[in-house]
C-alpha cells in the first residue's frame, strides 16, 4: 500500500495503517535523531514524540507526497528542542557504554569500490562530525544520511536554500580541515591521500 493510501487511512484514525507507517519510518527517524543527538534515549524520545505529533496533526497534511519531509521536519525540530533544553547540546553526548558497545561491534566497512576504510579513520571522521555545531551536523546528516536535496533540507530546517548550501559547505570544510589538520597521518596511511582530491 502506498503512503498516500496509508495517510488517508490514518486520517480516518486507522491504527493499523498508522502501524505500517510507524514500522516503515521509525528506523530512519530513530537513526537520524541518534546521529543528531548522539544519545539512544533521546533518540527514542524523539521517535515517540514525532509519531504522536504525526497522528495528532496528520489531518493538516494536505499533500501526502510531502509526508516524509514533514515527518523529518517534526523530528528535527524535536531534536533541536531537546538540544535547546539541554543547554544547547552540551549534555548531548554519546554515553560511554554505548560508545564501547559500538566500538566492539565495529569492523571494517566495505565501500562501493571495495576499499576498506580502517576502523580508526571511521572513528575519526565520526568524531569530527560529532564535533560540528548542531546546525552544520544536522544539514550534513540530512544530506548524506537521508539523501535529501538542498531544497528539501531548507524546508525541513526552515531556512533558505542559500543557508543550507552555506552550512553544508562550511560543515564539509570544517570536517576536511579537522581531518587533515589533526589526523593527517591516519588519513594518509588509510586513504593514500585521497582526501586531497577535493
Amino acid at each position: 500500500m502506498e503512503d498516500g493510501e496509508l495517510i488517508a487511512r490514518v486520517k480516518n484514525n486507522d491504527r493499523q495503517a498508522f502501524k505500517v507507517l510507524f514500522d516503515t519510518y521509525r528506523p530512519k527517524v530513530y537513526k537520524t535523531a541518534f546521529l543528531i543527538l548522539k544519545d539512544y534515549e533521546y533518540a527514542d524520545e524523539v521517535v515517540q514524540e514525532t509519531f504522536i505529533q504525526v497522528f495528532l496533526k496528520i489531518h493538516k497534511l494536505t499533500n501526502p507526497i510531502a509526508f516524509e519531509k514533514w515527518l523529518y521536519k517534526i523530528a528535527v525540530n524535536l531534536c533541536f528542542e531537546i538540544i535547546r533544553k539541554n543547554k544547547k547540546s552540551k549534555i548531548v553526548s554519546l554515553n560511554e557504554e554505548n560508545s564501547k558497545e559500538l566500538d566492539n561491534s565495529t569492523t571494517d566497512i566495505f565501500l562501493p569500490d571495495n576499499i576498506v576504510i580502517q576502523k580508526e579513520i571511521q572513528d575519526k571522521i565520526m568524531k569530527c562530525i560529532d564535533s560540528l555545531q548542531v546546525k552544520h551536523r544536522t544539514v550534513l546528516i540530512l544530506f548524506y544520511f537521508n539523501n535529501f536535496s538542498v531544497k528539501e533540507i531548507s524546508d525541513i530546517v526552515n531556512c533558505s536554500e542559500g543557508t543550507v548550501k552555506s552550512r553544508l559547505f562550511y560543515g564539509k570544510k570544517l570536517l576536511k580541515e579537522d581531518l587533515l589538520t589533526n589526523h593527517n597521518d591516519i588519513v594518509n596511511e588509510s586513504m593514500g591521500g585521497m582526501f586531497y582530491e577535493f
Partner: protein, 299 residues
C-alpha cells in the same frame, strides 16, 4: 572514492548497530497510541473546561441573549419531519419497509433470487417510504451495487444482501421486502455477516458487524430477526478498527479485529476477511444476548 561517499559510509556504518531495539517497537507503538488518546482527551477536556468557565462568567442578561440566539439558530430550522428522520435512523439497527405483502411460510429456506432490477425496484419503494419528502427517484446503476451474500446465508436463509458502493449502505432482500442493516452514516457499512438463531425458533436470523462514523470510525454488532423484521444493536463498540465474526454455534460467536484494504472497500468479500486479535464473545443464554469484551484497555 570521494569525500561524499566516505562520509555516507561512515554515517551508515555508525547507525547500523543502532537500530537493534526492534523488540521495543510494539511497546513503543502502544505507548504512542495511548499518548495520542490521552492528548485527545486532554484537549477535549480543556475545551469543555474553557466553555464551562466562560458560561460561569456570564451575566443573566447574556445567558438570555445567548439562549435566544441558539434557539433562533438551531431550533427553528429543525422541522418535525427532520427530527422524526433522525430518530428513525438512530433508534433501530434496521428499518422495516414492507414493499409487498408475502404469504410465504417464514421458515422457508428456498433461496430467493433478486436481480439488480429487482433490487432497484425494492430500493425505490424503500426510499419513497422512508423519505416521503423526496422525489423517490433512484439513479442506481448496476455497477453501483454489490451482492455480498455469504454462501452460508444463502443456503440457510435464502435471502440476498446488497451493498451500495458509494455510501456502503447495506440492505437485505427477504421475501420481497427490503430492510436496511446497520445504522448511521460513514464507515464501511456491513463488514461481516453470519447466520444465528438466538430465539431458538428454528428460523435462522442474521448477526453482522458494521462500521459507521465519518470522523471517528466505529464498529458495532447488529442482530436482525428476519421473522419479526426487526433489528437491534448489541452493547459493544470498537473504535478505530473494523471487526468480524467467527461462528461457534447458532448462539455463540467470537469477535475479531480485521482489516479491509482500502482498495477493496467497494468490492470486498466478507468471507475472505482475515481474523486478527480476539476482542469479544457473543453468547445467548436464556434468550438474552451478552457480549463479553477482552483487551478493552488495549484497543
Amino acid at each position: 572514492m570521494n569525500f561524499d561517499e566516505i562520509v555516507q559510509s561512515v554515517l551508515k556504518k555508525k547507525t547500523e548497530e543502532v537500530d537493534a531495539s526492534n523488540d521495543r517497537c510494539t511497546e513503543m507503538f502502544n505507548y504512542i497510541c495511548n499518548q495520542v488518546e490521552e492528548k485527545n482527551n486532554k484537549l477535549y477536556k480543556r475545551i469543555i473546561y474553557n466553555i464551562n468557565m466562560w458560561i460561569n462568567n456570564l451575566s443573566l442578561k447574556e445567558y438570555v441573549e445567548i439562549a435566544l440566539f441558539i434557539f433562533i439558530l438551531i431550533a427553528i430550522p429543525f422541522s418535525v419531519k427532520h427530527f422524526k428522520r433522525i430518530e428513525d435512523s438512530n433508534s433501530a439497527a434496521a428499518k422495516v419497509i414492507p414493499v409487498e405483502q408475502s404469504s410465504e411460510n417464514a421458515n422457508s429456506i428456498t433461496p430467493e433470487s433478486y436481480s439488480f432490477e429487482d433490487f432497484k425496484h425494492l430500493y425505490t419503494q424503500y426510499i419513497k417510504t422512508a423519505y416521503p419528502e423526496t422525489s423517490g427517484e433512484v439513479t442506481l446503476k448496476k455497477e453501483d451495487v454489490s451482492d455480498i451474500t455469504p454462501k452460508e446465508v444463502r443456503d440457510e436463509i435464502g435471502c440476498q444482501i446488497f451493498k451500495i458502493k458509494n455510501n456502503f449502505a447495506t440492505y437485505v432482500a427477504y421475501k420481497s421486502k427490503l430492510y436496511q442493516l446497520g445504522t448511521g452514516g460513514g464507515g464501511f457499512g456491513v463488514v461481516s455477516i453470519k447466520t444465528c438463531d438466538f430465539d431458538g425458533n428454528g428460523q435462522k436470523d442474521l448477526i453482522f458487524t458494521f462500521s459507521s462514523g465519518s470522523g471517528m470510525h466505529r464498529s458495532e454488532i447488529g442482530v436482525f430477526n428476519l421473522s419479526k423484521g426487526k433489528g437491534e444493536v448489541l452493547d459493544f463498540m470498537q473504535r478505530h478498527r473494523d471487526i468480524m465474526l467467527g461462528k461457534i454455534s447458532d448462539k455463540d460467536f467470537k469477535v475479531y479485529l480485521t482489516f479491509i484494504p482500502i482498495e477493496e472497500l467497494n468490492d470486498f468479500n466478507p468471507s475472505k476477511l482475515s481474523k486478527q486479535e480476539h476482542v469479544a464473545d457473543v453468547h445467548c443464554v436464556n434468550g438474552i444476548i451478552k457480549v463479553t469484551e477482552y483487551n478493552k484497555e488495549k484497543y
